[in-house]
Amino acid sequence: MIDSQHPLAVQTTGHTWDGDIQEFNNLIPKYWLRGFYATIVFSVCYWLLYPAWPIGRDYTKGILNQINYHSEETTVRTHWNSRALLLHTLQEDTSRRREYLQKIASTPFAEIAENAELMAFSYALAKRLFGDNCVSCHDGNIGFGANLFAARWKEGTGFGQIEQAIINSHKSKKVVSSDTPTIPSWKNRLSLSEIKALTIYIHQIGRLGNVPP
């Protein structure tokens, strides 16, 4: 409400509570107001670039159209899409990790065992995988599966046999025999290179009795 007697003083909202309580109507700080306008401008830009508004039975896709991924021999280019981004990341992974995984998958066990570099990678990979998937049952204190830390492989147990044990669904000996076979089929969850890395790791820990340094 304009106070005509003091036009340059901070104005009040015009309302009076309880006889004499009034509220100043200060202007919103400039920095705050500019920030607010900036967010509006930002959101309009965002709508243009990324998928944003529903229209009919579809939605606007945005003009940021730059994710490529491979599908059956061709390269598909699509709007911004987190699934496409993931696929792109997995396919275009030219990192050394992918290189090592491929090497492990294609190299026979005996050769991997002699290659220090591959062994180092394999060990790091298998340690994590073992922790995520195996140790819940195959630790000495738990007893659902064989204690792989004390496996003491028979003379001549090869990597191949351990690999087969991982791939085939294995029955725990400790449970009631009518337990349904919902025991892990690792072939469905792990890739070949992962299974091979685990095979080497399990062979190692069985001999050593604990996790290698």
């Binding site: 599908s71 699934r83 997995l90 998937n133 738990i142 659902f144 725990s172 009631v176 337990d179 349904t180």
Partner: protein
């Protein structure tokens, strides 16, 4: 109108507040009802069988969703640890979904078939006997409580009313046979809910104890089917990308 009028009139304030607050929900949720590709077309997803359904209810009752999520995101780290990202289709029959919002414990979306029934039994009763550093509480009563399933038929009926394809008559049953195959369709029949529940509990023997049908049976049955319905090896990854 002047803000003063809104602030001093309760009804007006209430109505206008409700309107403003609904905008967010309306804009984000309602359009999805009309966008067909929200739910992927994929084979294998089916409603829960009666025993699994009660297991799911126990999951909610015990508050598992407070620490465990069931939504694997399309991120590389999650792909490596948990497996294929969760599809919208996989939770289309959930009322409500159990996506969760925290991972104090690991994501459970693809827990099915990862560990044995006996493992789940011991882990639920005493988590620290398996993972010494676990922060998960003990749930020993699940093993002792008998499963209460007198209202399972009404339960399936209620879900059918909300659109979950449990069959209540011959026509619906036949539609289910076409859609899910006969083996699955028989277990989705509402009139045979009790029998199906008991049969699954007996043949599955989830808690390792044949003498009683316990809450543990139901919960483990539920956990062991999570994430197992879709066979991803049948699909090229680019197929799912198209839905977004």
């Amino acid at each position: 109108m002047k803000h003063q009028r809104i602030e001093t009139n309760t009804t007006l304030l209430l109505v206008l507040t409700l309107l403003v607050v609904s905008i967010g929900g309306l804009v984000e949720i309602v359009p999805l009802f009309f966008i067909d590709r929200t739910i992927e077309t994929v084979q294998g997803v089916r409603p829960y069988f009666p025993l699994e359904l009660l297991g799911r209810d126990l999951y909610q009752r015990e508050g598992c969703y407070l620490c465990h999520s069931q939504m694997i995101r399309p991120l590389r780290e999650e792909w490596m640890r948990y497996g294929h990202y969760s599809l919208a289709a996989e939770s289309q029959y959930d009322h409500p979904f159990q996506w969760g919002s925290r991972r104090i414990g690991p994501d459970l979306a693809r827990m099915g078939g990862k560990y044995s029934n006996a493992w789940h039994l011991q882990h639920l009763v005493a988590p620290r006997s398996i993972v010494p550093t676990s922060r998960m509480p003990n749930y020993p009563w699940l093993k002792n409580n008998l499963l209460s399933y007198e209202d399972i038929t009404a339960h399936l009926q209620a879900l059918a009313d909300t659109g979950v394809p449990y069959s209540g008559n011959q026509a619906e049953y036949e539609a289910n046979v076409i859609r899910f195959g006969e083996k699955v369709a028989t277990k989705l029949d509402i009139s045979h809910a009790r029998e199906n529940l008991i049969t699954q509990a007996e043949s599955g023997n989830y808690d390792g104890d044949h003498s009683h049908l316990t809450e543990m049976d139901a919960l483990i049955a539920y956990l062991q089917m999570l994430g197992t319905l879709v066979d991803f090896s049948k699909y090229d990854e680019s197929y799912f990308v198209q839905f977004r």
